[in-house]
C-alpha cells in the first residue's frame, strides 16, 4: 500500500492506494500519528484507491478516530467503495465516521 500525505493548516489528507493488510495497517497508524504530531485536527482518508483492509486496519481507524475526536476534530472517510465499504457497513463504522463522496466534499464539510 502507498500512503500519499498532504496538508492544509490543521487538515491532513492521507490517500491510501492498494491493500491495507496487517503490516500496512501499522504504517497507516504511524502516518496518522505523524499527522497528529504535526497538529492535525482533521484527517481525511482518501479511500478511492483502497481495495482491501484487514480487521487490524479497522482497529486503527477506531483508535485514530478516538484521538482526533478527543481533540475536537474527526477522522473523515472519502471515496469508500467495494470490499472496504462492505467491511465498514458490516461493522457499522460507516456510521461512526463522517463519510464523503470526495476529498473536496470532505474539505467543504470542515
Amino acid at each position: 500500500m502507498i500512503i500519499e500525505a498532504s496538508s492544509s493548516g490543521s487538515t491532513f489528507v492521507l490517500k491510501l492506494i492498494g491493500r491495507m493488510d496487517a503490516n500496512y495497517s501499522r504504517e497507516f497508524d504511524k502516518a496518522c500519528n505523524d499527522c497528529i504530531a504535526q497538529g492535525a485536527k482533521n484527517i481525511i482518508v482518501d479511500m478511492s484507491e483502497l481495495a482491501y483492509v484487514s480487521s487490524m486496519g479497522l482497529r486503527y481507524f477506531v483508535n485514530v478516530g478516538k484521538t482526533l475526536n478527543e481533540a475536537g476534530g474527526a477522522l473523515r472517510l472519502s471515496g469508500i467503495h467495494g470490499l472496504v465499504k462492505q467491511l465498514f457497513q458490516l461493522t457499522r463504522l460507516n456510521d461512526v465516521f463522517p463519510t464523503h463522496d470526495s476529498v473536496d466534499a470532505a474539505l467543504a464539510a470542515i
Partner: protein
C-alpha cells in the same frame, strides 16, 4: 481434497491466501466472495501465527479445502498450539458514536458474518476450525 502445510508465522500468510484463492476459484466462488475470503483468512491465520504457539516455539498450520458443490468451499484450519476456540468471544459493541466504540473484537465478528457453518473442534492436540465460503 487439497491441503497445504505452513509454518505458523505471519510471513506464511501470503502463501495461505494464494492457496485459498486458487482453491476458491477452482470451486467457482465469485470474485466478490474470494475477496471476503481474504479478510476471513487473514484474521484467522494471524491469530494462529501470532498466538497459538506463544511460548512454545513455531509450529505448523494446516489448510485443507473441499468443494462439495460448485460455488461452495469448505476450509479447515488446523494447528497444534494451545487450545483456543476463537468462536467464544464477546460480540463487539457497534455503537454509532466514536466515544463508545471499542477497537477490538471486530475480526472474529467479521469472520462469523462472512463465513457460514463455522465450527471449532479440539481433537488429539489439534485446534480445528472449519468454515464454508459461498457466493454472497
Amino acid at each position: 481434497m487439497a491441503s497445504l502445510s505452513l509454518h505458523a508465522a505471519p510471513e506464511s500468510l501470503p502463501a495461505a491466501m494464494a492457496f485459498l484463492r486458487d482453491q476458491a476459484r477452482k470451486a467457482e466462488i465469485p470474485e466478490s466472495s474470494v475477496a471476503r475470503l481474504d479478510v476471513v483468512i487473514e484474521e484467522l491465520f494471524l491469530n494462529i501465527a501470532l498466538y497459538a504457539y506463544e511460548g512454545s516455539g513455531p509450529g505448523p498450520v494446516q489448510l485443507a479445502c473441499t468443494s462439495p458443490s460448485p460455488g461452495t468451499l469448505v476450509v479447515e484450519l488446523a494447528d497444534q498450539g494451545m487450545e483456543f476456540n476463537p468462536l467464544i468471544s464477546e460480540p463487539p459493541n457497534l455503537h454509532d458514536s466514536i466515544e463508545e466504540r471499542e477497537s477490538g473484537g471486530l475480526g472474529i465478528f467479521i469472520v462469523k458474518q462472512w463465513a457460514s457453518a463455522i465450527s471449532y473442534l479440539r481433537s488429539d492436540g489439534w485446534n480445528r476450525l472449519t468454515f464454508t465460503i459461498e457466493a454472497d
